[in-house]
Amino acid sequence: MKRKNIAMTARPPVISAILWILHRLVVLLVVGVFLVPAVWLLSISFKPPTEWQVFPPTLIPRSPTLDNYIVLFKPEAPRGTAAAMLRVTEPVTKSFLNSLIVVPIATALSVTVGFLAAYAVARFRVGGAFMPFFVLTTRMFPPVAFAVPLLVYYRWLRLIDTPLGLILIYAGFTLAFSLWMTKGFIEGVPRHIEEAAILDGASPWRVLFTITLPIVKGGLAATTLFVFILNWTEFLYALIFTSTKTITVPVQLSHYVGAVGRFYGPQAALGVVASIPVVILGYMIQRYLVTGFSFGLIRR
């Protein structure tokens, strides 16, 4: 029989109620603090250039405008004197498309390979006791250290400024995360369940796909979201390994810094728009997330 809300504290109901309110208030406060930048971003995205650097800062724009959003997609379109300040020539659609191609593929690749490798390491001790550590070494150096040698390879392989090039880099560098995270979830699956499947007659691949995978679904979802965010927001390598054809959204954002100053408006607007895919992904897999994060903690 499941019991809900077992009171862990020992105090009379009145104090309980007061604490309940206080608890909610504190949570609201903390969440609020984290939300401030996002809200601010939203606010600036609707402000005309004249209001970008107004002091004291205002939350609600006095004359809200959609120009910032429009200029992202149709740079020639803005009207009015303020519009003259916005002199970006390229629409963001290209960078968006690039991101939408490179990031999901790289994420899928990373998580898939990571999961399979994690299973090998967790269940069959492939690579010995050192393997997990080895994999982690890829993250131990500042990313910039790899940039030069990789650039040399890439030029030779003619992968600079290509989607494939970026995919490989993103998949490679997030592999460590994928492996480590999924390994934890796989180890949370009691061995006996897999052994029962073996005795039932399942081959090792069968066990992996019909037993282990469904159980760690949540963990995989959590890992996917995490790796997706890492890739989506990655700037350094995108900057170095792309020039014109395959720039991604973060690089595009950097184009809004001009000699005259920053174009906060379009930057904010692009930031808002760029967040949308991540939010959608997060929403879609959120129910898996809960099971994913809690499953690993369940023992016996």
Partner: protein
């Protein structure tokens, strides 16, 4: 249903011998119990029989044919693990159907067989639910259903009832026996609770990787070969007193700090120190008896009493007294007992072996 033979199985794990030259034979359709304390090697042995682990030496044979090189998937062995190991993401029905799906049986056939076995084990109401909603006993039954639905050659149960309520454990033991009778399944049961194992046709007592005795349960209870077996099987455990053994003209004498007993027979060999063993229910309250002890604790168990007594030298022992004697004594009383000669066991102090007697 296959017969199982285990021959000279040894296994060392991290420099510690876990199994030492274990051998036994289980006939087809037999319910065989492997009885021993935790750490005795029961689980390791089962894993070797099922193929999940390899032995260092020796072999396993099903129906006379070696299976050592057969991978676990193909041995057609089913095992119920101590923690049951149901597939948590599948319903009861899918859990039971899993092995059949692997064998690519037609859907209609699968449905029929699953329903049949669910009916036999009275778990039809669980078919549409997930394992986390089942009670302990229900999970066991679903696991057994999943194991039996494919008619395995051998069924291994590794301590299947340990964390169930005492009442349910008793019922499930009976159910297991009923299954064996109805289905004729070869079953091997590993447990540390001798009561669970008493329903077996034959029992092997194992300790520290070694087999002490293989015999039908009643024989193990009435004629234990080693001291370990004698004290492990029986509740309350057999009383053991450390005594000196002295040869006499009429047989032998057992010298204990608190009493001296004469026996009209003597063992074939004469170790100096022996264990005198007598089961608590065989002790007789007798005025003028040679064994004098003080009552320490009385525990009433429905139709009988378990009395803890202490001898003059501090040794303790237990006595099972019928309830008809309940008003006759109290905590702190000094009572006198007799140990009937027919109920006395002698075990070598060093080796633990039951000493064979030789009439004088």
């Amino acid at each position: 249903m296959a017969s199982v033979e285990v021959k000279n199985i040894s296994k060392i794990f991290k420099d510690k011998p876990v199994l030492k030259n274990v051998s036994f034979y289980v006939s087809s359709g037999e319910l065989f119990c492997l009885l021993g304390p935790p750490g005795a090697g029961k689980t390791t042995l089962f894993r070797i029989i099922s193929g999940l682990e390899k032995a260092d030496t020796g072999g396993v044979f099903f129906d006379g044919k070696p299976v050592t090189s057969v991978p676990p998937q193909q041995r057609d062995v089913a095992m119920i693990f101590e923690d049951v190991a149901l597939y948590p993401h599948l319903t009861g029905f899918d859990n039971i159907a899993y092995p059949l799906k692997l064998r690519r049986l037609p859907r209609a056939e699968i449905k029929k067989r699953v329903n049949e076995i669910a009916c036999l084990l009275r778990i039809e109401h669980l078919l549409n639910r997930r394992p986390h909603t089942f009670s302990g006993g229900e999970r066991r039954r679903v696991a057994i259903a999943r194991a039996l639905v494919r008619n395995p050659r051998v069924l291994l149960l590794d301590q299947p009832f340990t964390d169930l309520d005492a009442q349910i454990r008793h019922e499930m033991s009976a159910e297991l026996k009923r299954l064996q009778i109805n289905v004729g399944q070869t079953m091997l049961l590993a447990t540390h609770d001798f009561e669970e194992g008493m329903i077996a046709d034959r029992m092997a007592v194992i300790n520290d990787g070694e087999i002490h005795q293989i015999a039908p349960p009643k024989e193990i209870y009435n004629s234990p070969i080693t001291r370990f077996t004698a004290s492990f099987v029986g509740s309350p455990a057999m009383n053991l007193f450390s005594c000196q053994l002295v040869r006499t003209a009429t047989g032998c004498e057992l010298r204990h700090p608190a009493f001296v007993l004469s026996l009209p027979w003597h063992p074939v060999t004469f170790p100096q120190q022996v264990w005198l063993g007598i089961r608590p229910e065989k002790i007789v309250l007798e005025k003028g008896g040679k064994i004098k002890a003080r009552v320490e604790v009385i525990q009433i168990l429905g139709a009988e009493q378990i009395v803890d007594l202490v001898l003059a030298n501090g040794d303790r022992f237990k006595w099972v007294a019928p309830l008809s004697l309940s008003e006759k004594f109290r905590r702190g009383d000094e009572l006198e007992f007799d140990f009937p000669i027919s109920a006395i066991f002698l075990f070598d102090y060093e080796t633990g072996h039951n000493l064979v007697r030789k009439e004088v």
